[in-house]
């Protein structure tokens, strides 16, 4: 961690989640989705949360934002700039959400309202949250479209979402999330629905906006390669738990948890020997509601021993670097 980030970490974190548990009622059964996750995001920091479908990464932040379905039960603590927001009343939450704490969703096709013009959707955010007049809000909205690289911003203002390409729609979503000067943007798989070339542009845009606006960023993704160039800190989730947490460079250079190491091996490469078979992660992630004694990754783990099947490992720092934490009895690096 560089000195600047360390100073910031000692300040009040922008987002702090402690021991968050999320479970869903399904008939009589209770299916846990997130199990005792603690995360801290410092001002200006970019934290990536990586895991397979079903690992709980999205539910974690939906819970923090108060956006879960009615059958969800949430325990734990979520503080945004020191204020407890878990279970806060909707009027209070609505002052924070959409202004200081914003979200970009995976599918730019469905996260814009189809029957409102782009300009109206953008300006509405400022009218509602910042009390601006519509005419002021429209000017600010157009400027923001310029800043996120939407060509011909003035003309876009009067277009509908279906008239824009996927990449442009995602730029509009990013513009919308930045309008009120947020302290934290949560981006849930912001590039998964996009082409590789557009993905690279959106990642570059997020990087540039972070530099300009200085907001903290949480990046949720299933793909370690995508978050690599952007994240300061990476958390790897498996079966609802954080199994590894490290600075991005440390994670790529010496992953400690076998799951992280296996995920890294799965990234297809452009260089190096061409493989006869692509590396894969054996087995399936646990089914929702499946309870596994000991470490949940043990059934798929090449290093699993008897102890792993009996006793659940806790998140522990490495001998050389206490900030590089992994939940493994036999980490690749002690």
């Amino acid at each position: 961690m560089n000195a600047e980030l360390r100073d910031k970490a000692e300040m009040q974190p922008t987002l702090r989640i402690d021991d968050l548990c999320v479970s869903f009622a399904q008939g009589k059964a209770v299916v846990p989705a997130v199990r005792q996750v603690s995360i801290s995001v410092a001002p200006g920091e970019c934290v990536a949360v990586v895991g397979e479908s079903g690992s709980g990464k999205t539910q974690l932040f939906m819970a923090a934002m108060g956006l879960l379905a009615g059958n969800a039960a949430v325990r734990g603590r979520v503080r945004f700039e020191g204020e407890d927001i878990l279970g806060a009343a909707a009027p209070r939450l609505n002052l924070i959400r959409g202004a200081k704490l914003t979200m970009i969703f995976q599918d730019p096709m469905t996260s814009l309202t189809p029957h409102l013009k782009i300009g109206t959707q953008l300006a509405e955010v400022l009218v509602c949250h910042a009390g601006r007049s519509w005419s002021e809000a429209r000017v600010a909205a157009r400027r923001m479209l310029d800043r996120v690289g939407v060509p011909e911003a003035a003309r876009r203002m009067s277009q509908y979402p279906h008239e824009l390409s996927g990449g442009l729609r995602q730029r509009v979503m990013i513009a919308m999330s930045l309008l009120c000067g947020p302290k934290l943007v949560i981006a849930d798989e912001p590039t998964t629905a996009l082409d590789v070339t557009v993905q690279a542009q959106i990642i570059d845009l997020l990087r540039a906006m972070r530099r300009e606006v200085g907001m903290a960023l949480v990046l949720i993704s299933h793909d370690l390669a995508v978050v690599a160039g952007l994240a300061d800190t990476i958390l790897v989730m498996y079966d609802g738990r954080v199994v590894e947490r490290a600075q991005a460079a440390d994670l790529f250079e010496h992953a400690r948890h076998p799951y992280t190491a296996e995920l890294l091996k799965c990234i297809p490469t452009l260089s190096g020997p061409r493989l006869q078979r692509l590396p894969t992660l054996a087995g399936q992630p646990p089914q929702p509601g499946e309870s596994i004694q000991g470490c949940s990754f043990a059934p798929r783990c090449p290093r699993a021993a008897q102890r792993c099947r009996m006793e659940r490992p806790v998140l522990e720092g490495a001998a050389a670097d206490a900030a590089h934490r992994a939940a493994c009895h036999f980490p690749l690096w002690p």
Partner: protein, 364 residues
């Protein structure tokens, strides 16, 4: 440009299984596919890459006559699929199968997966008994790594990766000679992608199936293709044997695609070769410009609006599709200027973030 030219050198001396010649698809005023010609040989895997809207899926559907091309021919073992009668087409389709991108949407939600996998058998082997079909389905489920007892379940009970296995089982049950895979792994987790690609490779090896594998990610096609075909704006802009394409990408669009592949560790400098600053390739041209572009594109290279190297000549003249090395074809006026030495747009070190991408090797 001669339609015969893009024909590959046959891998063996045999005639190609599939020959696409000068294929055009128009949707009203818009041309979705133009002058597409290539060959595919038995047992060969051809990777097809390009962005959304470049015509990849249109080409796949055009080959199978799931839509009507407006011009050209698709010769399947010497017979034109576009002009043959519907009874003949139906019989030939037994050998031509496709796996779609969205695994759940391509399965009928009201059919059990067993019924879905058995359907090609019911259609093409109407004399088969229910018992026989059930056995074949069980066998096929086993081949794709699913338990035969799951045949009675419905698609929504399966994960995305499992649904894709079911789609593959359905496509492979008749032992087709050609399997077209339209972005089969794009909607799947990275950890599952490898499993599906390996499964396709196994099935291909066992059955000798030829494959047209469509993807927008070059890192995926690299591992399974013999040759790669790059499309832009409805045209093929580059065809090359795999090692040539990755070693010496000649079209600026191919190089942009390579630069855009996320390669993981930003601090690892073992693969900086293609890491041009992505800013050098702007997003697809804005819509307003597009109308004008469409009118004028007829006279020039469609990529010139985004190309870092475009010349006046690129506006005036459509580049010819030329063979610049054995089996390596490219449509770019400037391809001869960069023979076998790369070729990246100059690395702009003033752009932030460039420093952490590591040094860029400019020669190969």
């Amino acid at each position: 440009m001669s339609p015969e030219m893009p024909a590959s050198r046959p891998l063996s001396g045999s005639a190609p299984l599939l020959s696409v010649r000068d294929l055009w698809v128009r949707f009203g005023e818009r041309t979705a596919l133009c002058e597409v010609s290539f060959d595919l040989h038995a047992g060969e895997t051809l990777g097809l890459v390009g962005e959304s809207g470049s015509g990849k899926s249109t080409l796949a559907r055009g080959i199978l006559r799931l839509l009507r091309p407006s011009h050209g021919s698709v010769l399947w073992r010497g017979r034109d699929l576009l002009t043959c009668g519907s009874a003949t087409l139906r019989a030939l389709r037994r050998d031509l199968q496709i796996v779609f991108q969205d695994p759940l949407a391509s399965l009928n939600p009201r059919m059990t997966v067993g019924e879905a996998i058995a359907e090609p058998l019911r259609i093409f082997e109407p004399a088969s008994t229910a018992r026989h079909r059930q056995e074949r389905v069980g066998e096929m489920l086993g081949r794709v790594g699913l338990d035969a007892r799951l045949a009675g379940r419905y698609p929504h009970e399966f994960s995305g990766g499992q649904c894709q296995r079911i789609g593959i089982a359905r496509a492979m049950i008749l032992g087709p000679a050609l399997l077209i895979c339209d972005e089969p792994v794009s909607s799947l987790d990275v950890s599952i992608q490898g499993q599906i690609v390996n499964l396709l490779l196994d099935l291909q090896r066992d059955a000798g199936t030829a494959m047209l594998f469509i993807s927008h990610n070059l890192a995926v096609v690299r591992h399974l293709s013999h040759r790669i075909l790059v499309m832009y704006s409805g045209r093929i802009v580059e065809i090359a044997p795999r090692d040539d394409l990755f070693g010496t990408p000649l079209h600026p669009y191919t190089r942009a695609l390579l630069a855009a592949v996320p390669t993981g560790n930003p601090h690892n400098t073992d693969s900086p070769r293609y890491r041009a600053a992505p800013e050098t390739i702007p997003e697809a041209i804005p819509e307003a410009g597009r109308e004008a572009a469409r009118e004028t594109a007829a006279g020039g290279c469609a990529f010139r609006f985004r190309c870092p190297d475009a010349l006046a000549r690129c506006t005036a003249e459509i580049p010819a599709f030329e063979e610049v090395a054995p089996g390596h074809w490219v449509a770019c006026h400037r391809s001869r200027e960069r023979p076998h030495s790369v070729i990246l747009p100059p690395h702009d070190t003033t752009k932030a973030g460039a420093a952490q991408r590591g040094p860029v090797q400019r020669t190969l």
